[in-house]
């Protein structure tokens, strides 16, 4: 099914100032910006795909790879850094064998660093699919990831 057309239809005759909102809506619907989405958004707005891609790559929010089923955001704000978020990130990288900005091959996990989640009072913070985990340590992370993996294995076995 085409998810793109209904989104573009919502912006009839739109100008360049609608570019970022459209890209945001597309990413929300599809999880990432595919090459096809970029060309079609460009055609709709009368902009070359290169311009659209240029804008999209400038902003941290846009992704060009599908997200994992569990999207883990590690806050790298100052407060989190002082409380040891680099260790948090490294632990996750090691546990998932994943670099920030990429997705595991089974599509289960994706990892991302964010500048600040704005929950500095609870540092260090990790956000999984929009749910916040405060004051995380390597141990709590291990439990979290192992829990997810077990649940997924059990889920796969039951099908």
């Amino acid at each position: 099914m085409d998810t793109l057309q209904p989104i573009l239809d919502r912006y009839p005759g739109a100008g360049r100032d609608a570019l970022i909102p459209i890209l945001q809506t597309v990413q929300e619907a599809e999880g990432f910006l595919s090459p096809e989405a970029i060309t079609r958004v460009g055609k709709h707005l009368g902009l070359p795909a290169s311009k659209v891609f240029g804008v999209a790559t400038f902003y941290n929010q846009f992704r060009f790879q599908p997200l994992g089923k569990y999207h883990i955001q590690v806050c790298r704000g100052t407060a989190c850094h002082v409380k040891g978020s680099l260790g948090t990130l490294e632990t996750l990288q090691r546990m998932l064998d994943l670099k920030p900005g990429s997705t595991t091959r089974d599509g289960l996990f994706s990892l991302e660093t964010v500048a600040c989640l704005g929950a500095c009072g609870l540092a260090p913070v990790v956000c999984v699919n929009g749910e916040f985990f405060a004051g995380v340590t390597p141990d709590t992370l291990k439990k979290l990831v192992d829990g997810v993996k077990q649940r997924e294995v059990a889920h796969a076995a039951s099908h």
């Binding site: 360049r16 100032d17 570019l19 989190c80």
Partner: protein, 652 residues
């Protein structure tokens, strides 16, 4: 420290509501007066339970607490209202739950996680109000106080504060326009539209001494005057809610806890400069704030507080939300305009200033959330009363986001002129675990550090600049002796070089070079080859010079202040840099590569786990006998430390 008088209290009694706003909301007359009492929580029909569900509260588990409260009330068949409120600011004590019984003052409890809900509510309903989790009671005139219970305003976190912008945060239901109006909300807008000319509003703001709270500190009234004087068919007001500073979250808290204050401030600003269209450029990372603000705008539109002919005058104003897409540089006003126009968020040269030619080529005023949230305070209190609080050059209050190595973290609003010591040691309760204070980082990546010797400095735009720091947007990160200042500088340079938009070469390349220099001095001898040592020394020597070039030749505020974290740490913590450069030692024990790993023979059980995990084969030993580290092979990655189950790996 000036003695606090009885009048200077954290919370003041909320102002009386404006009768015009009340009639607009259908709250006039006798019925209205009764509803008003309910809204102001002076009268309660049944007990009420308030749960703080800001992002920080939710992070601490307030969502689960909320459903546990509802379930408990159902199970006990108790009739009570459950109200979601914003964040009162005491993040370290989240989740916070308040209980109020009819006729009595409201009580506040901390750390109420899901599992503690039944015991707490059962206890309170049985009359045991004084539990270990009690924070205090709110003082509300006309309601019976609880005997012998501490007052919230005497709590060390709240006592030194002056809450103007945060007056309603954590107290009212942010989803209720009526509740905001019942506490004087939109009265300042009505007063401005019906009794003041746009020029008089600009004058009042200028006379109040209100300066931009987003970092620059430009006098807001002056900016408004410039925009007002421009001839144009269309003008724009933009609220900058792209709170990109790592370590700052006051804008989020204001929007989540009191969104109507921002809407009112924007409408007044729009009237003053002659703009009919306002934008809020808000971070996409703040979904809850976006939801609450969108709801508030919708409500205001519904009753005619936004839209055409507000309060029967000829003034039209409406607000649209624009979601930022995550770029720190978009906090810079010209970059923000580019982003709104659908371009890469790169700054433009100024002049022309946005107040002359901004968004879509029209005169545009850009103010930060906190600045605009201050506007109803300025108009409501009067410019002179506003200017009476603060220092010579900085008036009013400032909200700080207190975080890092401090006992109580959260949001604190203090009068300008309060000392940093008061904020860290009174509001924040000092450094936990008996450690020593080292520095406080203020102003985010563009700011600087304040060492112990300058703790008594006043919060004020000019005095902060005199020690190489800046007000910034108000992030205050406290650091103790376990924090390495070189590592902090490296952290900020890493952030800035990633966020540099790339337009000016000195900023794009210079910040990267600075990061490389810092990386070189925190790298271990083990990974150093040939001429690396020479480059390391040369780099350090050129650091100051490079900083000057970046400062002088960058176009925007980001580049001009990019070297600040390095300069400020170099200025106050030179000894730490020297320890890294000459002794190859990290005094705080943070820089991993400069650490030496050894294995405690007593504690090691010879499980061989570290040996198997060591990426360079630097650990030797037979099974069931103590292992040891071959220092020449060790790359100090720390893997052995994390995998060891018996805590036998020692770091020095």
């Amino acid at each position: 420290m000036p003695p606090r008088t009885e009048t200077a209290r954290c919370w003041e009694a909320p102002p009386a509501p404006s009768p015009h706003v009340l009639s607009l909301l259908g709250l006039s007359g006798e019925d209205g007066a009764r509803t008003l009492e309910l809204l102001r929580r002076q009268r309660l029909q049944r007990p009420a339970i308030f749960v703080g569900t800001g992002t920080c509260g939710l992070g601490a588990g307030a969502g689960k607490t909320l459903s546990a409260v509802r379930k408990h009330l159902q199970a006990r068949a108790i009739e009570a209202d459950v109200v979601e409120v914003g964040c009162i600011g005491l993040c370290s004590d989240e989740p916070l739950v308040d209980v109020q019984f009819p006729g009595r003052q409201r009580l506040s409890y901390r750390g109420v996680t899901e599992d503690k809900v039944p015991a707490l509510l059962d206890g309170v309903w049985a009359g045991q109000v004084k539990g270990p989790s009690l924070v205090g009671q709110f003082s509300s005139p006309g309601l019976e106080p609880w005997p012998k219970l501490p007052r919230l305003e005497d709590h060390p976190f709240f006592a030194p504060q002056t809450r103007w912008v945060l007056a309603n945060c954590g107290i009212i239901d942010p989803a209720s326009l009526e509740e905001y109006a019942s506490r004087g909300g939109y009265g300042a807008l009505h007063h401005s539209l019906t009794s003041l000319t746009p020029e008089a509003v600009c004058d009042a703001v200028e006379r109040s001494g209100l300066r931009g709270r987003g970092g620059g500190g430009f006098p807001s009234g002056k900016k408004w005057h410039i925009a007002r004087q421009q001839e144009a068919t269309q003008k724009y007001l933009i609220c900058n809610a792209d709170e990109g500073d790592p370590g700052a979250f006051m804008d989020r808290a204001v929007i989540e806890g009191d969104p109507h204050r921002l809407v009112e401030g924007m409408a007044i600003a729009g009237y003053a400069i002659g703009a009919s269209q306002g934008y809020v450029y808000i971070r996409a990372e703040y979904p809850l704030a976006i939801r609450r603000l969108a709801a508030a705008i919708e409500q205001a539109r519904g009753v005619g507080l936004l839209g055409k002919g507000i309060f029967g005058t000829s003034f039209d104003f409406d607000i649209r939300l624009k979601q930022g897409a995550g770029a720190f540089v978009c906090g810079e006003e010209t970059a923000l305009i580019n982003s709104i126009e659908g371009r890469r968020g790169m700054p433009r040269p100024r002049p022309p200033y946005p107040a002359e030619r901004g968004a879509f080529g029209k005169p545009t005023v850009i103010n930060n959330v906190e600045t605009l949230a201050n506007v109803p305070v300025v108009i409501g209190r009067g410019a002179d009363a506003f200017a009476a609080v603060g220092t010579e050059g900085s008036k009013g209050t400032k909200v700080f986001a207190l975080s890092g190595k401090v006992s109580r973290t959260g949001l604190a609003e203090v009068a300008m002129g309060t000392t940093v010591r008061q904020i860290v040691f009174e509001v924040g309760g000092g450094i936990p675990d008996g450690k020593a204070y080292k520095a406080v980082q203020i102003g985010g990546p563009s700011g600087g550090c304040i060492p112990a010797s300058h703790l008594d400095i006043q919060v004020d735009y000019e005095s902060l600049k005199s020690v190489g720091a800046m007000m910034g947007s108000g992030g205050l990160v406290v650091m103790d002796e376990g924090t390495c200042m070189v590592d902090v500088a490296k952290f900020f340079m890493d952030f800035i070089q990633r966020e540099s938009c790339g337009k000016c070469i000195p900023c794009r390349e210079g910040t990267r070079r600075m990061l490389e220099v810092l990386e070189a001095i925190t790298r271990g001898r083990r990974s150093e080859k040939d001429a690396d040592a020479l480059e390391r020394f040369q780099g350090v020597m050129a650091l100051n010079e490079l900083a000057d070039v970046i400062k002088d030749t960058s176009l925007c505020g980001l580049g001009q202040s990019a070297p600040n974290p390095v300069l400020s740490t170099l200025r106050w913590f030179r000894d730490e840099y020297e320890a890294h450069v000459y002794d190859r030692r990290c005094p705080a024990g943070v820089c991993a590569q400069l650490l030496t790993y050894t294995i405690d023979e007593e504690a090691c059980r010879g499980c061989t786990l570290c040996m198997r995990k060591c990426p360079t084969g630097a650990i030797m030993g037979a099974a069931k006998s103590p292992h040891y580290v071959i220092q020449d092979k060790c790359i100090a990655c720390g893997t052995c430390l994390t995998v060891c189950r018996t805590h036998a790996v020692l770091v020095s």
